[in-house]
């Protein structure tokens, strides 16, 4: 299986070519502010339907790696993060650019992005089989309580007031209930439409939320064209041996933070890069130097955001729970190839798993070479203005939505979800909990109702089975700990009642 999986990538010039193209396109998407990894993966998802499963997933992984890494280009050269995962890179890369050290900043970012990606690939290779073995012990109780825990985690760590995140998660759950009931012979909230008997298409929802809403937000903004990026002279990776040694533990710690954040569902590279930057600053001997243009901040940010990729793939492949938005899209890609992630993935699709590991390694090596050698070419390619790029993205979204099921109805649903995303964004309701709620809602309801039927209406086994109990406790803690903290703050006079309730 391992040999077959690795050969399917390393031994296939076509597959290597697809990965190369995926990395290049991903880098360009990542470098353009306003476009991001989810959009890159979404737009090219339909293209993968006609490929073999390994090639298709390899392309999506290459896009993910490329777009996450590409964000550092505009973060440093324009002081605008190309993707949310590069926010923290702006804080150090910008000042370095101002001092004429853009080449060094880029070299450091590229090198440590590569290192973060490789470390997380190693983690994926070793952790996912262990997690798959543990997941074999799962039954309906564990799946239901795990879905509850995942939703609670997202609601509590999302960068929005907790009430808003909970509303978002609940809306996602509600959207997942639309269609034919899994048990009883009833249709729910279909209003007589046959086309949503099977529920809303996940592809339409993701495209509407992440791509179309961007078009709407751009149209409502007064965005002037961004200044053109200038060409850069690169000399090596700009890191001396002494600097590498000084940042060794920073690198390891940031990679572990990235992997850990990646494993948690719904949280992405932006959280891991900011968190690792903050930890690096707090642990530094001279924290006052952060923000003035030192490489330590770039090391922390870029190692963590690329390490998130491997981490996010771990729960996706072994538990069918996407660790990030891009993984949610990749779940759709896997399912369209007839691959259903879960604990049996090593038994049923072992070759594919090794193919995924190989793709990650190849994609990381390719982006290192392409981004380093081809940086000035990429800068030239980025001269396409946003006001031309985004309408083209809308067209590609229509193609993508149609390609899913060859139904015009799905294309119309993209518009509906785009408008919904815009409305929710105006209400400061985050979209990530909604997406995860939509993905997990079916699973949660199916297993909860089965559990109740088997146990004659009792919920006892949710708390007597050890793994399920752990998930329930974590979920409850994530929901109620912020509330308890707020009550404590209120009692010590550090907050008001409304702020306390809002979370």
């Amino acid at each position: 299986m391992m040999q077959a999986g690795f050969l399917a990538v390393f031994g296939s010039p076509m597959c290597l070519l697809w990965i190369f193209m995926g990395v290049v396109v991903g880098l360009i998407f990542g470098a353009i502010p306003g476009l991001s990894a989810p959009i890159a993966v979404l737009l090219f998802l339909p293209m993968t339907f006609g490929m073999s499963d390994i090639q298709g997933i390899a392309v999506l992984i290459a896009l993910y790696v490329g777009s996450t890494s590409g964000g550092l280009i505009s973060a440093i050269l324009l002081k605008i993060p190309g993707t949310p995962a590069s926010i923290a890179t702006v804080w150090e890369g910008g000042p370095m650019r101002d001092r004429g050290e853009a080449g060094k900043a880029l070299g450091v970012g590229i090198l440590y992005s590569f290192i973060g990606g490789i470390i997380s690939t190693i983690a994926l290779i070793f952790i996912s089989p262990l997690l798959a073995k543990v997941a074999m012990q799962f039954s309906i109780y564990e799946y239901a309580s795990m879905s509850f825990m995942a939703l609670a985690v997202i609601a509590s760590v999302c960068d929005a007031p907790m009430i808003n995140s909970l509303i978002s998660g609940c809306l996602g759950l509600f959207l997942s209930f639309v269609g034919m009931d899994a048990f009883a012979d009833v249709t729910r909230f279909t209003f007589g439409s046959r086309q949503i008997l099977s529920g809303f298409s996940m592809t339409s929802l993701l495209i509407g939320f992440f791509a179309i809403s961007e078009m709407f937000k751009y149209a409502f903004s007064n965005d002037k064209a961004i200044g053109a990026m200038s060409l850069v002279k690169m000399k090596g990776f700009g890191v001396s041996w002494a600097e590498f040694k000084d940042n060794f533990w920073n690198m390891i710690r940031s990679a572990l933070i990235g992997i850990g954040i990646g494993i948690l569902p719904g949280i992405g590279g932006s959280t891991s890069s900011i968190l690792s930057y903050t930890v690096a600053k707090n642990s530094a001997k001279h924290p006052e130097e952060f923000g003035t243009g030192i490489i330590d901040g770039i090391v922390a940010s870029e190692t963590a955001n690329n390490a998130t990729i491997g981490g996010a793939l771990i729960p996706l492949l072994t538990l069918s729970i996407p660790g990030s938005t891009v993984c949610a899209i990749m779940l759709g890609g896997l399912q369209s190839h007839g691959v259903f992630p879960g604990p049996l993935i090593f038994e049923n699709n072992g070759t594919l798993m090794y193919g995924i590991y190989a793709s990650l390694i190849v994609a990381n090596i390719m982006f290192l070479v392409v981004e380093y050698k081809g940086l000035n070419l990429i800068v030239k390619a980025l001269k396409v203005p946003t006001y031309i790029m985004l309408p083209i993205v809308v067209v590609m979204c229509a193609v993508g939505a149609f390609a899913d099921n060859s139904r015009v109805f799905d294309v119309k649903m993209v518009f509906f979800f785009g408008v919904l995303a815009l409305l929710l964004s105006n209400m400061k309701i985050p979209s990530t909990p909604l997406i995860i709620g939509f993905i997990l809602g079916g699973n949660l309801e199916l297993n909860l109702r089965r559990a109740l039927m088997y146990e004659f209406g009792s919920l006892k086994l949710f708390v007597t089975r050890p793994i399920s109990l752990v998930f329930v406790i974590i979920g409850m803690l994530m929901l109620f700990l912020p509330i308890i903290k707020s009550i404590r703050k209120y009692l010590t006079g550090r907050t008001t009642i409304p702020t306390m309730i809002e979370g």
Partner: protein, 157 residues
């Protein structure tokens, strides 16, 4: 104050949605067998949670000055945004009747015209980009990936 009013109206929309949803749940309350809580169980629970949280949010906004940090949109921006929503809506709704090629060409030409800053706009450039993009996408997906796009008014082709 405008932002606060807008937010209150938005969350009232959620309250209304949840009330309507709860009403519709009455028609689907059908258990599969004994001890099945029924098809309406979780939707009802979730709608009650949405209702409760939205009411709490409205009360908080009324009690305290929980204005958002929205910047005020200019008239031009609002018009541009609304036209964009209408264009995207028309593009997706006329996808089948006009057909991919005509629909996409029209959409790109109009959309780029709307969002391009005045000082950078050129009708020749807009038309060329629209035409070239439409053809490239069509060739890649219809010819390269054998996707069957709607022909619409070009049925004779």
């Amino acid at each position: 104050m405008q932002t606060k009013k807008k937010d209150i109206i938005s969350f009232m929309g959620l309250v209304i949605l949840s009330v309507v949803g709860l009403f519709l749940c009455n028609g689907i309350d059908k258990p599969f067998r004994e001890y099945d809580p029924g098809a309406a169980f979780l939707p009802r629970l979730i709608l009650w949670i949405i209702f409760g949280l939205s009411v709490i949010k409205i009360v908080l906004m009324v009690l305290e000055n929980l204005d958002g940090e929205d910047r005020i949109l200019g008239k031009q921006e609002i018009i541009k945004g609304l036209i964009t929503i209408a264009l995207v809506g028309c593009y997706y709704f006329f996808y089948k009747s006009l057909g991919f090629i005509v629909d996409t060409l029209l959409y790109l030409a109009l959309q780029i015209s709307v969002v391009t800053p005045k000082e950078k706009y050129s009708w020749k450039k807009t038309l060329s980009i629209s035409l070239v993009t439409t053809l490239i996408v069509y060739v890649i997906f219809a010819v390269g990936f054998s996707m069957r796009f709607a022909k619409g008014i070009l049925k004779f082709m």
